[in-house]
């Protein structure tokens, strides 16, 4: 073991010898793992910044243990590690690096201090991430943020769009990808940004898949609710959703599909009954809160629909139509909506009437112009990225072969059909 330490000291300074160091450490992994109790002594001798690769191996060996004796110590060690580690050295062994991230998250959650892991995980992502890439540390950061209910760091990470995934280098697997979008969607829903939450859940549903995954199912259930809350209706599943998901939705999400149906018929009584009936199902999936929010949303959508048909309306009518009880309730409710900016109207208390206006925003200011300029630039950048993707896939030999086969088959079929017609 002393030998190992010496070699770490010698080789960590020189960039060329790091590769040798890495291979040496891999061979000596067993010896390192056997040292369980003495690792702390050795760790004290090494410096996180200069001897990152060595520290990585030792810490990984320590973190492998299922039960940790001195929790505070290991959390502190891992925090220090992520704060000071050198990305160049850490790149040699990304699998151990992300294993450490995962263990840090797990240890902190088990010991009820999830907030201790937020900052180190955020630093770990920043150090090893190439631009707009998804790393295995992302879902753990989201999980830890959810557990600690502290979303400021997580939103920063969520706002950066993720375009690239390189599973060979980072050791990312599909479970982590799905979890990232699921947790991310949950965080957006908690922050009431329902359109972004819908987007994340939709991504999960439409991943190419051959097998149904529980994460995808849960994502679909939440997708129904968040899309209702953001746009008032559930969109059709995107065409690239795999058949496996579509076929099995009815089997496993029955109550949710009924909820969707009743919402579309905007029948609030039936909807209430449904929620009461399936209370257990919704509660088990932790969706009861979302379901109740949706019912409230139904009322709001109803009033917004009224703006399309009526210019003035009596408060009694509104109260009757939506079962709000008294006129005072209706007035209170609509006043609330006006303040939030969900509807544009004036209430005349003497006559007991509401008159609806048009949206006073004319979108003609220079602020709008500047904002649109920025948005157009973003769209153009995105289109360029897609064009690169398009070009990459077009020259992929697999694609060319399959395309030729398909063309050949379709040509043959059309020939057969024309022969049949002639005969």
């Amino acid at each position: 073991m002393e030998q190992v330490l010496n070699i770490i000291f010698q080789n960590s300074n020189n960039k060329e010898s790091l590769q040798h160091l890495f291979e040496f450490l891999k061979k000596k992994e067993k010896i390192i793992n056997e040292q369980k109790n003495n690792l702390d002594l050795y760790l004290e001798q090494l410096h996180n910044g200069h001897h990152t690769l060595g520290c990585l191996f030792l810490l990984a060996a320590k973190a492998q243990a299922k039960s940790i004796q001195n929790v505070v110590l290991i959390i502190k060690q891992l925090q220090q590690f992520f704060l000071n580690c050198d990305p160049y050295q850490a790149r040699f062994c990304p699998s151990k690096y992300y294993f450490l991230c995962k263990r840090l998250a797990e240890i902190c959650i088990e010991n009820s201090v999830p907030q201790a892991a937020i900052l180190p995980l955020y630093q770990s992502i920043q150090k090893l991430q190439k631009t707009s890439e998804l790393t295995p540390a992302h879902p753990y950061l989201m999980l830890v943020s959810l557990c600690s209910k502290n979303f400021s760091v997580a939103t920063k990470v969520l706002e950066e769009e993720v375009f690239e995934i390189e599973s060979k280098r980072t050791g990312l697997n599909i479970e982590e990808v799905l979890l990232y979008f699921y947790y991310g969607g949950l965080i957006w829903a908690i922050l009431k940004q329902y359109d972004r939450a819908t987007h994340f859940f939709e991504l999960n549903i439409s991943f190419p898949a051959n097998i149904l995954s529980r994460i995808v199912l849960e994502s679909y259930k939440k997708f129904i609710f968040t899309s209702i809350l953001s746009t008032g209706k559930v969109p059709v599943l995107p065409s690239q959703t795999s058949h496996v998901v579509e076929k099995n939705l009815r089997q496993f999400c029955g109550p949710y599909l009924k909820f969707k149906q009743f919402f579309e018929n905007s029948n609030s009584l039936e909807l209430n009954e449904l929620v009461v009936k399936f209370n257990d199902v919704f509660e088990k999936d932790n969706n009861l809160g979302l379901a109740k929010l949706c019912i409230q949303n139904l009322l709001k959508r109803g009033i917004q629909r009224l703006t399309k048909t009526y210019i003035t309306l009596s408060l009694e009518f509104v109260a009757e139509k939506f079962g709000l009880g008294s006129v005072i309730n209706a007035e209170f409710y609509i006043l609330d909506m006006i303040e939030k900016g969900e509807v544009f109207a004036k209430i005349d208390q003497k006559k007991g009437e509401i008159s609806f206006h048009d949206d006073p925003e004319t979108y003609q200011s220079s602020k709008v112009g500047i904002r649109m300029d920025k948005d157009i630039q973003e769209v153009i950048d995105l289109s360029n990225q897609i064009k690169h993707l398009d070009e990459r896939i077009m020259v992929y030999p697999n694609y060319i072969m399959k395309k030729m086969k398909e063309d050949y088959h379709s040509q043959k079929k059309s020939e057969e059909i024309s022969e049949k017609k002639m005969n």
Binding site: Q364, I380, Y399
Partner: protein, 308 residues
């Protein structure tokens, strides 16, 4: 070989059809033979009225290349030339054999011999040379036309090539065709679309206008600052220029301008999004073809769960 210019006895007019034909011939030869710069040879036909020569059309010739010593000796298949020429003459009764063309950028020794062999078809044929790889900043067409003149060198009659100038002339349909090609084929730059080709000249014109206004403004400022003595004529011109412009700084105008600007931006935004969505759906289709095994999907009857 040094090139001399001719005395300008002939007025040569070249039609764009000939240029396109030659380019097409060269491109095809390059694709078919995998060489980078194959040499193509063909004949040109047209009319000659006194001193003005018009080259209307061209066709390809069959030729053989043999190596004798260091150079390539080119022999043209004359039967083929006869046959093709007669076919053209049947359709276009006025046209005659005017000369021949080839690709390249220098005159080679053997070109003279080829030229001599064509003397039986026309007493003084023209030789057109097209450079298929011109320099990028060349502003004219990379085409040179040579006439031949019989001179006596060392008491032997010898043919010499003389560089002559030419102009392009196009009929109405030719002009339309060339216009269309420049619009649609465009350059290899994908960013050029019909809109940008329309807007780009406007943009450069406005930039030029702006540059000139900046100069005028600088001059006026210097006169006001007393650094230059103002010339009354120039100042009068500036004054009349300023009077011609309508008053443009009212609030009403700014509002209208802003709202029109926002509308245009909105349309551009919509277009960009539509194009983007179209591209995404194409990528998804291709991905489907490449990676999804369609036949295997139909076999699933029961779901399989992933255990986490």
């Amino acid at each position: 070989m040094t090139e001399e210019t001719s005395t300008g006895a002939l007025e040569i007019f070249l039609h764009p059809l000939v240029i396109l034909n030659i380019c097409d011939h060269f491109t095809r030869a390059r694709v078919n033979s995998n060489k980078k710069n194959p040499r193509v040879i063909g004949a040109m036909i047209g009319t000659q009225n006194g001193r003005s020569v018009e080259i209307h059309n061209s066709f390809e010739l069959v030729f053989t290349q043999e190596k004798s010593g260091d150079d390539q000796v080119i022999t043209i298949n004359k039967e083929y030339l006869e046959k093709k020429k007669n076919r053209f003459v049947e359709v276009y009764k006025n046209f005659e054999f005017m000369g021949w063309y080839s690709t390249g950028n220098k005159i080679l020794k053997n070109d003279l011999k080829v030229h001599e062999s064509l003397l039986e078809f026309n007493e003084s044929p023209l030789y057109l040379q097209l450079d298929p790889n011109p320099k990028e900043d060349l502003k004219e067409l990379p085409i040179k036309i040579y006439e031949s003149e019989l001179r006596i060198v060392n008491s032997k009659p010898k043919l010499v090539f003389l560089h002559s100038s030419y102009k392009t002339k196009s009929l109405e349909p030719e002009r339309l065709a060339v216009d269309n090609i420049t619009k649609f084929a465009g350059s290899s730059n994908d960013k050029a679309s019909k809109l940008t080709t329309h807007v780009d000249p406007l943009h450069s014109a406005i930039e030029m206008l702006r540059d000139r206004l900046v100069i005028i403004l600088k001059y006026l400022r210097m006169v006001a600052g007393g650094q230059i003595e103002g010339d009354q004529a120039i100042l009068r011109l500036c004054y009349s220029l300023a009077n011609k412009l309508p008053a443009l700084n009212t609030e009403k105008f700014l509002k209208e301008y802003q709202s029109e600007y926002n509308d245009t931006l909105l349309t551009t935004y919509l277009v960009a999004i539509t194009k983007g969505t179209d591209m995404i759906s194409e990528v998804i289709d291709k991905f489907d073809v490449a990676f999804q095994k369609r036949k295997e999907r139909r076999r699933f009857n029961r779901p399989y769960f992933m255990f986490h």
